[in-house]
Symmetry: C2
Subunit: 378 residues, 2 copies
């Protein structure tokens, strides 16, 4: 008898377990799969019966003009198969009669600043740490008070697998986003949780906490939260360091009082990309001796050598264990990064200048995190 009521639940599960889109596809008996990732070929599909021209653009192409025409079948589905790009996390879109359209068949979409982008993740050695590991750390959206900025703000905090029960104290990586980004960026476009999970699981990186704050002091949180934003005069030099001061004076004390961490310079790392690389330089020169691991990415210096040297001497005097600078040779800050490399050499500061192909891209920033994280806290 129990079975009959159970059967009702089963039927309901069947009914509502399939979502509307799946039901619609079932009914037309031709499920559109996109992207379909094969070892040699990737196929993209989009239904657009009335369109005259549908093109595909993907971030593996050299530029926007490289987009390629898709072909329409009799059912009005446009298709293209291309050689599988080399392993990487790409974004792509369709251009339907001139309109940029995401891939509605692809549930893997990420926000990059104000834009949502369909994602193509191609498996391979380079990307193996961008997939879910077997053991997952937890990611929390944490609100904290920032007396420095004067608002309650949001940051993302990653705690490694086992944190809850180990009883151990952990080192902390403060990982900063770039311009146009927010506290969400490193854990989505940056795959920071997956990268750290994988490196830790493989025994390549020390288990660590990773703190991803919001580096825009006018915001309490990402724009998605619909909170009012403070306007400010970006030309005011005081403003530029407001966030850096809040990082050291508000965020670090919050983390060190709310999490089981080692509250010492040798257990603090700081890294950031682009604007966050600027924040990394500013934080380490304004607060020398706070972070023993310093990893600016896609950033550098310009301006008077004497002033740069003064800043770096402060860092040197404060002491550090690792200075790791990553930049791509076609990055528009390449000259600045070279300047920083030269300045570090001139100041007799041990450092690594990790040079890659490519430019100011998430492809590089993921690669840098994947490369320097194993060097931290050792």
């Amino acid at each position: 008898m129990k079975k009959k009521l159970l059967l009702v639940f089963v039927c309901l599960s069947v009914l509502w377990g399939a979502n509307a889109q799946e039901l619609a596809n079932f009914m037309r008996r031709a499920p559109i799969v996109s992207p379909e990732i094969g070892e040699k070929i990737v196929t993209f599909r989009v239904a657009a019966p009335d369109a005259k021209l549908v093109r595909l653009y993907g971030s593996w192409m050299p530029d926007r003009n490289s987009s390629v025409n898709m072909m329409k079948d009799t059912a009005g589905v446009w298709t293209i198969s291309i050689p599988t790009p080399s392993p990487e996390l790409y974004t792509y879109h369709f251009i339907v009669d001139g309109i940029v359209v995401n891939d509605s068949r692809n549930v893997f979409m990420q926000r990059d600043g104000t834009r949502y982008l369909s994602v193509l993740l191609v498996p391979g050695e380079l990307t193996e740490n961008y997939y879910e590991a077997g053991e997952h750390g937890n990611l929390s959206k944490v609100w904290y008070d920032s007396p420095t900025i004067g608002t309650n703000r949001r940051m993302f905090v990653y705690t490694p697998y086992g944190y809850e029960t180990s009883g151990e104290e952990y080192p902390v990586l403060y990982l900063l986003h770039g311009g146009g980004g927010d506290e969400d960026a490193w854990s989505t476009m940056g795959r920071a949780r997956q990268i750290l999970d994988n490196l830790i699981e493989k025994g390549l990186a020390k288990p660590m906490i990773c703190v991803m704050p919001n580096g825009n002091p006018g915001q309490q949180a990402a724009k998605t939260q619909l909170l009012e934003e403070k306007s400010y005069d970006r030309r005011d030099p005081e403003f530029a360091n407001l966030y850096v001061k809040s990082l050291v004076n508000d965020i670090i004390p919050y983390i060190e009082s709310h999490y089981r961490v080692i509250a010492k310079p040798e257990a603090r790392a700081i890294s950031g990309l682009s604007m966050g690389g600027g924040h990394t330089l500013a934080a380490t020169s304004l607060f020398p001796g706070t972070f023993d691991y310093i990893c600016p990415l896609s950033m550098g210096v310009r301006g008077e050598a004497a002033e740069v040297d003064k800043q770096l001497q402060a860092v040197k005097k404060g002491g550090y264990k690792l200075y790791w600078l990553g930049c791509g040779e076609s990055d528009f800050v390449w000259e600045m990064a070279k300047n920083l490399d030269a300045a570090l050499t001139r100041n007799e500061m041990e450092h690594t200048f990790y040079v890659t192909d490519g430019g100011h891209t998430w492809a590089n920033w993921r690669k840098y995190l994947n490369t320097f994280a194993p060097l931290l806290f050792k």
Copy 2:
């Protein structure tokens, strides 16, 4: 001298603080704002210079055929202004020459199952708890082992404002999603964090933890995580209750050993929508006496009265403090909900049948959570 290096950072901030889209708009000197929400009028805009016909569809319209034509200006931007719909959280899209397109100017997008939808949140009394409160609880993506299902799985856990430092023990609401949804659904489409934050801040609801698991036992986590899914025979009755058993035997023990909670029936509530309402019915009849607060939403019963009565008598014998059933009069499960209401009455079980307009919608489920949460743990 320090100022010069600072100035570099400021310039860089200016440079990268504006994202590509903003820069593009700045350059054309006509930023496209969409949606622009006024008290009386909402305006939607989409750039589509080559399109022949652009229409707007929004979930405030009675059906898909109600979509309305937009007008093109000389710059190729299609616009429409409509009377502001009554306060609610709506989803909408453009139809550009037959293609469904999200609003690329609107950063507020949410995933509903496999689809990403642009969101229009209209302010008003009904929706005031759907916005960020002044005091925010934290939301964590937590991985736990499920021996019942045999995999490591993900759930979302909300901890109320002040949890970290209060030292107090909290009651727990287990909040279950429907078919096609996953652990992400209640905190995005359902606005559960904002609703609980607001109710708690206003003193209307008791501070509580809210646990939002993944109710699809074939999944470890939402499809966005790209994890392999187990296939299973949905017609197998054993399967239907697998998740319900994991909820009581795996998730509750995890929560009660990892969080500062009151581990007693009077501090446990269970609610779910649609399929999650079915899970609520199953969990309370299979494990009577576990939850003192029982709130199935958009769900009910059918089948033999004797069998239903047997299940409900088990719940009655186990004891409970609140039985709160919510359903809309045009919901397709309305008859089943009425059956459950009648069965509860027939079994002399005190309960509330909370009847609303509308159907099987997030609009209703948000409203139900906002209405029953203040009744819990009192």
